[in-house]
Amino acid sequence: MRKQIRLSGSGGQGVITAAIIYAEAAVAEGKEAVQSQSYGPEARGGASKSEVIIDDGPIYHPHVKTPDVVLAMTQKAADKYYGDLHEDGILVLDTDLVPEPPAFKNIVRVPITKIAIEQVGKSLFANIVALGVLTKIIGLVDLETVKTAVSHRVPPHTIEANMKALQLGYDAVK
């Protein structure tokens, strides 16, 4: 079954890295996956968006049309990227960074960045907290597989903190 996921925020929040790790985990489980991204010429602070499509069969057109899940890590991203969500899709918002949730029926609000700062120690773990949230909500790839994918991507001395961030995000979804 095809799953279409969009991760959005601003440059520097790590949404592209989170998307790559999720796609890597899907591939590790034998699924087909494509990951694409778009960003402005400015690397940090500009709009940043990454899309992942996961399927059992081949994937040709690489862009998401009707996402099943949209993650927004800024108000601007939330307003811009939730519009084409599937009617039964889920909009995942960083509670504090998206103070005004768009009018959509299925919204999951998680204080992603707050968890990263207060419980992991740095805001830069927010993308991995978000990855934990998405892993739980999407339910397509096993948490253990995502853990392995994270550990392959991040600097060795940060693995422990990243594992904590991932688990906190996963557990934050009721």
Partner: protein
């Protein structure tokens, strides 16, 4: 553990070049090609190769020509304005018969254009960007795996024909990550650097053509006297200002590739067995065109796709045969309309040729190409 992994098109391009024997990269970073330079910077030192970041794109082109003349298979990669700057030396490589591969990960132009946005607007620049009569080989991959495969082919063709080869990628494939399984070293055919076939005592002439019309030019440092120039030269490599030598030099430059044209012009067909209409596409756009073809088939339209892997030399034979078979051709390309002119020329009026063009920073959606297919069919039934 499976060998399958998630890999980016630009990364696969670097891996392919390395597998084909590239041991030198000179370049200057530019979006959306930078990951190729990053990949080569990481990979080359591991195999005893050299990576040099030059001061600009012109110097990047010069340094790879120097490396190639000194015996190393060489690669450079750039985009838009960088490729424009390289043009004079691409012509030099064609004239002096220096093997080299130039990767162009296309972005929206002209000029600095839209630095991170996808385009396929350099099709004609690839063919005619440098001045004068010259042959050109250009390949365009549609997947991450094919970025690897066409990088291998590009290096092989540049070595075999001693000519510059352009790997015409686009941002769609360059930045795309997908599941890929790369072939092992044993599965890859590598064309070795051509070696001089005579000694100096036997009267070796560096630019004397072998049977396949390509000269076996010795590398610098092999003990031969070699003169390399962009001026028209005879078999000695020294310039000659005569009509006969000029005509013969330009003839041979073209013929060495013309005689192998069928072998190097790769075209892939999809759903063409019973097709009454065809979409012609290449590179990343073909991924979307294929979904449009599948959607049209669901609506009962008998349409297929012909995908150009080799952009130059153009697939005249395949398109001529296609135009004789189908009721209409739709060309989908991410530019104002470039390869469509070649398709029209090769189709030679045998069937209508319509254009589905896009040039607004965004890639095609399948619905847009589907609409083009439906318009083509409606036009044919008028």
């Amino acid at each position: 553990m499976s060998k399958a992994r998630l890999m980016q098109g630009n990364e696969a391009c670097a891996e392919g070049a390395l597998a084909a024997g590239v041991r030198f990269f000179g370049g200057y970073p530019i979006t959306p090609s930078t990951e190729i330079a990053e990949g080569m910077a990481k990979l080359l030192p591991q195999v005893g190769g050299k990576f040099v970041q030059m001061e600009d794109e012109i110097a990047s082109m010069g340094v790879v020509l120097g490396a190639s003349l000194a015996g190393k298979k060489a690669l450079t990669a750039s985009s838009g304005p960088g490729i424009s700057l390289k043009q004079e030396l691409i012509g030099y490589a064609a004239a002096a018969e220096i093997p080299v591969v130039i990767v162009n990960v296309q972005r929206v132009g002209p000029s600095t254009g839209q630095p991170t946005a996808p385009s396929q607007g350099d099709v004609m620049q690839a063919r005619w960007g440098t001045h004068g009569d010259h042959p050109m080989i250009a390949l365009s991959p549609w997947s991450v795996r094919e970025a690897f495969d066409t990088a291998v082919m590009a290096v092989n063709y540049s070595e075999r024909f001693r000519t510059p080869v352009i790997l015409l990628m686009d941002e769609i494939v360059g930045h795309l990550r997908e599941k890929v399984e790369l072939p092992s070293a044993e599965e890859i055919e590598v064309y070795p650097r051509r070696q001089p076939d005579k000694t100096r005592a036997e009267g070796y002439q560096p630019y004397a053509p072998a049977e396949d019309l390509v000269p076996n030019i010795a590398d610098f440092g092999q003990g031969y006297h070699i003169h390399v120039t962009g001026l028209i030269h005879d078999e000695t490599g020294f310039p000659v200002g005569s009509p006969k030598v000029t005509r013969e030099a330009i003839d041979r430059m073209h013929k060495k590739i013309d005689i192998a044209r069928d072998e190097i012009t790769h075209v892939e067909e999809y759903c063409m067995e019973d097709a009454e209409y065809a979409v012609v596409a290449f590179g990343g756009t073909a991924r979307t065109a294929y979904e449009a073809v599948l959607a049209a088939r669901e609506k009962g339209i008998k349409v297929g796709m012909v995908r150009l892997v080799t952009i130059w030399p153009f697939a005249d034979k395949a398109i001529k045969a296609l135009a004789a078979k189908v009721k209409g051709i739709l060309v989908a390309e991410l530019n104002y309309g470039q390869i469509v002119g070649e398709v029209e020329r090769a189709a030679a009026g045998q069937c209508p040729v319509e254009l589905c063009a896009k040039y607004d920073m965004t890639i095609f959606e399948p619905e847009e190409i589907l609409e083009g297919i439906e318009d083509l069919v409606a036009g044919g039934n008028k």
